[in-house]
């Protein structure tokens, strides 16, 4: 999951980025409101963590601008403003969650996963496709009850596809979901990861839609 982190405090931003990475998130960090709005507008992020007291543009304005452009990326406000009117305003302006600093990193991760799950219409914490189970919190995969070891990228790729089960994802969309800034992406990286997934799980786990992209079919018993 690729997360946009908008936080102006260098020490806190550094800590959040490192911590969320440890939890398996891909994190891009911006330090002002203008950059936050610009990045959110691309729609490439699975979710965003937004500070309110940002330089150049206040977090609430950023949120308003993004929602005004019909971008539905889940946004978690992380702020020191704990007043009830602030919370109400933040949520009314389109935030999906409101957390007051300081926050436990694990809780922040859980809240982000919850936001992403709900944004994709999922009701349970574990994603299911037939006999394949994906647990985002534990970052584990089981097939027919047996744990399958996947690399970080493979897991993230499968996660992105299962979140969007039944929808066809283009190679570019998958790349945007998988890689934060500063990574050189090989042109066939996605194909390589898909190949590995099919080998480690089963060939039909990911289906190719020729000329468009890839999909994990939405099965009857998937939730």
């Amino acid at each position: 999951m690729r997360i946009l982190l908008a936080e102006d405090d260098p020490m806190l931003g550094d800590g959040l980025r490192a911590g969320l990475r440890q939890l398996g998130f891909q994190v891009d960090w911006v330090r002002d409101g203008v950059a936050a709005e610009r990045e959110l507008a691309t729609g490439d992020y699975t979710a965003a963590v937004l500070d309110l007291g940002l330089p150049l543009k206040d977090g609430l304005e950023v949120l308003q601008g993004v929602r005004g452009r019909r971008i539905a990326t889940p946004v978690l406000i992380l702020t020191a403003r704990d007043g009830v009117p602030d919370r109400i305003r933040g949520l009314d302006l389109g935030a999906d969650d409101y957390v007051v600093k300081p926050v436990d990193l694990h809780e922040l991760g859980a809240r982000l996963r919850s936001l992403v799950r709900r944004a994709h219409g999922q009701t349970q914490d574990v994603l299911r496709s037939g006999a394949l189970l994906l647990n985002p919190a534990a970052r584990s995969i089981t097939l027919n009850g047996e744990v399958v070891a996947l690399s970080t990228r493979e897991f993230d790729l499968l996660h992105a596809l299962m979140l969007n089960a039944g929808r066809v994802m283009s190679r570019e969309q998958l790349e945007q979901q998988l890689y934060s800034w500063g990574y050189e992406i090989d042109s066939n990286a996605i194909e390589v990861h898909i190949h590995h997934l099919r080998r480690k799980l089963f060939p039909e786990v990911v289906q190719t839609v020729r000329g468009i992209g890839y999909t994990v079919p939405r099965l009857k018993d998937s939730t």
Binding site: D9, G15, D104
Partner: protein, 447 residues
């Protein structure tokens, strides 16, 4: 004793005035009634005397004294005597044998041996040796006057309590707006600071309510400032704590990644330093706000050069660590008034700010001198300086220049500003012509 209740006071004063006026009216009426009564009754006496004189002409001469019968129960109060040639010839039953008065003609008031006081009219008959005296007890006049006075005062005795009740009601009714104001204020929630509505307010109460509203407005602005301060302080305190927490968790989760753990621990320590500095600044500010200006601005002269040199010496190692050159020009002693510790706090904040917001290797120049008799402290730096807009916002609590990487809280300026108020100094911020950064100048008033 002063009545505590306004209503009781108004009532007492109104009732007192009513009684005084009523008594005054009664007195005037009594005086004028007495005058009229005297005139009327004296006229009666004279009339009676005239009748006796006329009758005397027809009376036969006799040695016998004719005693007139008493015809009415009031008759004993009236008496007459007729003398002819020195002899009493006719008298009323209650009259003595001696003439009632020595006065030959006109009215006289005589006290008789029996204790009664008599008003006597004496006159001569047509014959010169006839003398007629007609007298009346003055007690009867006093009775009439007493009756007149009573008729004035008795209704007052009954009217006064009724009037008191009516006045009490009227005063109470008149003071209603005050009681209503009291109720309105009494029922307010403690947080409600909006002004009291002035419409329907009697003009006498407007100044009071206006003053009250002014006070409420001042309290509200103070409360707002406090609230803003609390919100800002919460933000400034929560962010470093959140950073410390996040970095500590990263260090815990780093596992075998030693570089990441060390980095996170370094940041954890730096976050602690930052929080410590912030707490110190907040405490300084809180102390300043409680310290009265009188105790802060002591009269003892302080050598500003010496204080500044001490502060600069303390800060020099920090400057050297960042390869900044901290220079001090304070050759002659410059005396100012103020508490040396507080002056030290101010100087420290100024130099610390200059160093903090200047890049590594920059110059910071501190000058202490006396210019035209005015003590002056100037701190210049080679930092990025400030735009006019930023200069205008300087000194707002927690205001920090955008994009600043330094971990300042913006509280330093609040402290300098507050101390400047205490010392009565003027603080000017401008662009440094020598170093290109910020130049802060503090001028003390003439000693």
């Amino acid at each position: 004793m002063r009545p505590r209740s306004l209503q009781a006071r108004l009532l007492a004063m109104a009732m007192g005035l009513v009684v005084v006026v009523w008594l005054g009216v009664a007195y005037v009426t009594w005086v004028s009634a007495r005058h009229e009564l005297d005139e009327l009754l004296d006229g009666h006496l004279a009339q009676a005397a005239a009748l006796l004189v006329v009758q005397q002409i027809e009376a036969e001469d006799s040695d016998e004294v004719a005693d007139a019968p008493s015809l009415h129960k009031y008759a004993p109060r009236v008496a007459f005597q007729v003398f002819h040639g020195g002899h009493l010839v006719m008298r009323s039953a209650n009259a003595g044998i001696a003439p009632m008065t020595n006065k030959a003609l006109g009215f006289a008031t005589e006290r008789h041996s029996d204790g009664g006081e008599w008003r006597v009219f004496s006159t001569r008959g047509t014959e010169h040796d006839v003398r007629v005296y007609v007298g009346e007890q003055t007690a009867s006049r006093r009775e009439i006057l007493r009756a007149v006075l009573l008729s004035m005062l008795l209704p007052m005795m009954f009217a006064l309590p009724a009037l008191a009740v009516l006045l009490w009601w009227a005063v109470r009714k008149g003071l209603d707006p005050m009681r209503q104001l009291g109720e309105v204020l009494g029922h307010r929630r403690p947080q409600a600071l909006e002004p009291v509505a002035l419409h329907n307010m009697p003009s006498e109460m407007r100044p009071m309510v206006n003053a009250l509203n002014g006070l409420l407005a001042r309290i509200e602005s103070m409360v707002m400032a406090e609230r803003r301060f609390t919100a800002d302080a919460a933000h400034e305190l929560r962010t470093p704590i959140a950073a410390i927490r996040a970095q500590a968790q990263v260090a815990l989760g780093a596992g075998s990644d030693v570089a990441q753990r060390d980095h996170a621990l370094q940041y954890t320590l730096a976050g602690c330093d930052r929080a410590t500095r912030l707490v110190e600044q907040l405490l300084t500010l809180a102390r300043l706000e409680t310290a009265s200006a009188a105790s802060a601005a002591s009269v003892a002269p302080v050598n500003l050069s010496m204080v500044t040199r001490g502060v600069a010496a303390e800060l020099a190692p920090t400057a050297m660590a960042r390869h900044q050159s901290l220079e001090l020009e304070a050759d002659a002693p410059v005396l100012v008034t103020g508490d040396d510790v507080l002056i030290g706090v101010m100087v420290r904040n100024l130099i610390d700010n200059a160093m903090r917001y200047s890049p590594d290797g920059a110059r910071v120049l501190v000058v202490v001198k006396s210019e035209a008799g005015q003590p002056l402290l100037r701190v210049e730096d080679g930092g990025p300086g400030m735009t006019d807009q930023e200069l205008a916002r300087l000194g707002e609590r927690f205001y920090r220049v955008i994009g600043n990487e330094q971990s300042g809280s913006g509280l330093g300026w609040s402290i300098v500003k507050r101390l400047s108020d205490v010392f009565g100094t003027t603080t000017q911020v401008a662009r440094s012509s020598a170093l290109g950064g910020l130049a802060v100048e503090v001028r003390w008033p003439h000693r």
